[in-house]
Amino acid sequence: MGEVKRGYVRPLDLKNGRVDMTHGSGGRSMVQLISELFAKHLGNEYLGQGNDGAVLPAPTFNGKPGRIVMATDSHVVSPLFFPGGDIGCLSVHGTVNDVAVMGAKPLYLAAGFILEEGFPLAELARIVESMARAAREAGVPVVTGDTKVVERGKGDGIFITTAGVGVLPDGLELGGSLARPGDVILVSGSLGDHGVAIMSKRENLSFDAPIESDTAALNGLIEAMLATGAGLRCLRDPTRGGLAATLNEIATQSGVGMMLYEQALPVKPVVSAACEFLGLDPLYVANEGKLVVICNALDAELLLNVMRAHPLGRDACFIGDVIADDHHFVQMTTAFGGKRIVDWLAGDQLPRIC
């Protein structure tokens, strides 16, 4: 008779194993999934506390107390793995960016996972590793988390919700309602890369030049911009709905109009070609690592120089002006010299028939 080995648990089969209902049931399997997968990759002193919540030091900014900024973002992307990233790093970048565009220094993340029964553990491990890498690179640890499992057919593989906390120094005010006529609009780089990368993968289209998602954490770039003390009014990351949705939001919140210059808009030739092909407008396509900046016109040059010196802002450029307009229209002077509205999108962008 073999001796029962005390405390031995067969490790998770990360090669061929799959998520099953026991991984969410609160029993041993769940603890195993957490320790062998989540804690292994994401581990840090706070997550290691192993309590229901993480106890964190009171946030300070350069040693001084500041205000807390909190944001949350749910990620349901399909496909889960796409050129340039995956749902894991995306779920870190998305929330870090939401905190950072408020002018805050992102400090901590929380992550909630909804897993579908049958989801391959190997893919889960890839996703968690990618999350861990992204969190490390951004310098923002995941300090607490949660896992739930839903029955097969009731989820789409994996959904990840992250929440982030950051600290905002007293005196710094950025927001969508602060744009004023005379301000200028800058972007940190090319538009539409993320959405087109996803779409081309979804539609199984391949192009000669690969299109990669721009997913990235912008806190480093933003920190460099804030350090200049330039007259920033508002920062936003133009995700869903693209640049057009972001500018329409700001125009409405601030009660101003905007004038974009089509010729100044940075769109990579391959993205522009894919958009032509798919019947899409890059202005409405999502970005995950780009920054829209509204700032005092006098500081535009200074900010552009700082942005261009940062790897994520190399192609930063001026794209338009904030103007007075009671109707809060975002307009564009086309490359053709005509004018048109850059309106909100109605629902999803649907390809035209002919």
Partner: protein
């Protein structure tokens, strides 16, 4: 982007605008109809009307396949998805066309209909192959450009013995729609819609050639210029039309000589003729019933005809009373003349089909040009 940027050159456009202004005779007004929604879209998206002199006016025509699709046809597709449990495949912007009972294909999908957007008929065929136990119906809409791919799909399904695939055919014909407009009392008798010429869609002519337009030019004395969809193509076509009007000519001219010939694509025409035949009549939104203006599937391919296969009964459904899509599609009214434009009817909540597709006159004006109405 190669082969694209050349046709979007702002400087050339300004020069063309100046040539049009210089060529247009003082004291004379010019009204041209761009038949196709693709041109409407290009005119709005690039702000082309800003580059034209005030005496040159563009009238939007009915050439948007989504816009002319009557409610009754969308109802058929919705019934197939919701009541007959088929997988219904269709092109993108058909999904939002308003139908009866406040439904659209998009809303029917939320109610459990298995409705899938496809980029081409090849995708629809693949869905049929992948789901041998389900009926797969391709909701085929569009003018001559989308008809040959549907014909090929039916022949392909026939060759493969793909028994679960069928087509709900709503393909319509450009020349019949143009004659219908030219025959309308607003144009012919009362002259309330002045039309001095047409811009014909180049992609349609890559298939049917330029020959079918020769009849209009001769019979109705209206010049036609077949033009591409890039903004410079449209500007060039307008200049060519102004010249024809000035010189009293009514000819078919081809601006899109880079791909359109007089006879078109004979192979594609053959395929279409093998699979389809003329319908005696077809209801168009806005133009009502137009004789010999659409195609149906020939008896030889009856097994692939969803109307026969599911014994579908077409019921005509009147449009919302306040909606002016009909008059707009015939060029009688402009989007901003409609009482519900931009108030009750918006792209988020379209009442009429012209507000659905970005090619529709209302959606194009709402999305790109409505700032002109308020300033």
């Amino acid at each position: 982007m190669k082969y694209i940027d050349e046709f979007r050159d702002g400087e050339l456009a300004t020069n063309l605008g100046a040539s049009i202004a210089a060529t247009a005779q003082p004291g004379r007004n010019y009204s041209f109809m761009e038949f196709c929604g693709g041109h409407t879209h290009a005119i709005s998206r690039y702000g082309l009307s800003d580059l034209l002199p005030p005496t040159v006016r563009m009238v939007h025509g009915p050439g948007c396949p989504v816009c002319v699709l009557p409610i009754g046809r969308v109802d058929l597709a919705i019934r197939l998805a919701l009541e007959r449990g088929v997988i219904l495949c269709t092109y993108g912007d058909t999904l939002r066309v308003p139908a009866s009972d406040g439904l659209s294909l998009m809303k029917a999908k939320a109610r459990g209909g298995d409705i899938r957007m496809v980029y081409s008929t090849i995708d629809a065929l693949q869905i049929a192959r992948d789901n041998p136990g389900r009926e797969v119906v391709f909701f085929a809409i569009g003018f001559e450009t989308t008809t040959p791919p549907t014909a090929v799909a039916i022949q392909q399904a026939d060759a493969e013995g793909l028994k679960n695939f069928s087509v709900l055919c709503c393909h319509v014909l450009t020349p019949s729609a143009i004659s219908n407009i030219l025959e309308s009392p607003e144009v012919r008798q009362w002259g309330t819609v002045p039309l001095d010429g047409f811009i014909g869609p180049a992609h349609v002519s890559t298939v049917i050639g330029s020959r079918p337009y020769e009849f209009f030019a001769e019979e109705y004395r209206k010049p036609v210029v077949i033009a591409g969809f890039e903004p410079l193509d449209v500007m060039q076509a307008i200049l060519m039309l102004v010249r024809q009007v000035n010189e009293g000519r009514a000819e078919v001219e081809n601006e899109f000589s880079r791909a359109v010939t007089r006879d078109g694509n004979l192979k594609a025409q053959d395929r279409v003729a093998e699979v389809f035949e003329l319908r005696r009549e077809f209801e168009w939104r806005g133009l009502s019933v137009v004789p010999y203006s659409a195609l149906r599937i020939r008896a030889k391919y009856a097994g692939f005809d969803a109307e026969r296969r599911f014994k579908l009964d077409y019921r005509s459904v009147p449009d919302n009373k306040a909606c002016e899509c009909g008059a707009i599609l015939r060029g009688v009214k402009r989007p901003q003349d409609c009482k519900i434009f931009g108030t009750v009817c918006t792209p988020e909540n379209p009442i009429g089909s012209c507000m659905v597709s970005s090619e529709g006159a209302c959606a194009a004006h709402y999305s790109y040009g409505r700032y002109k109405d308020v300033h």
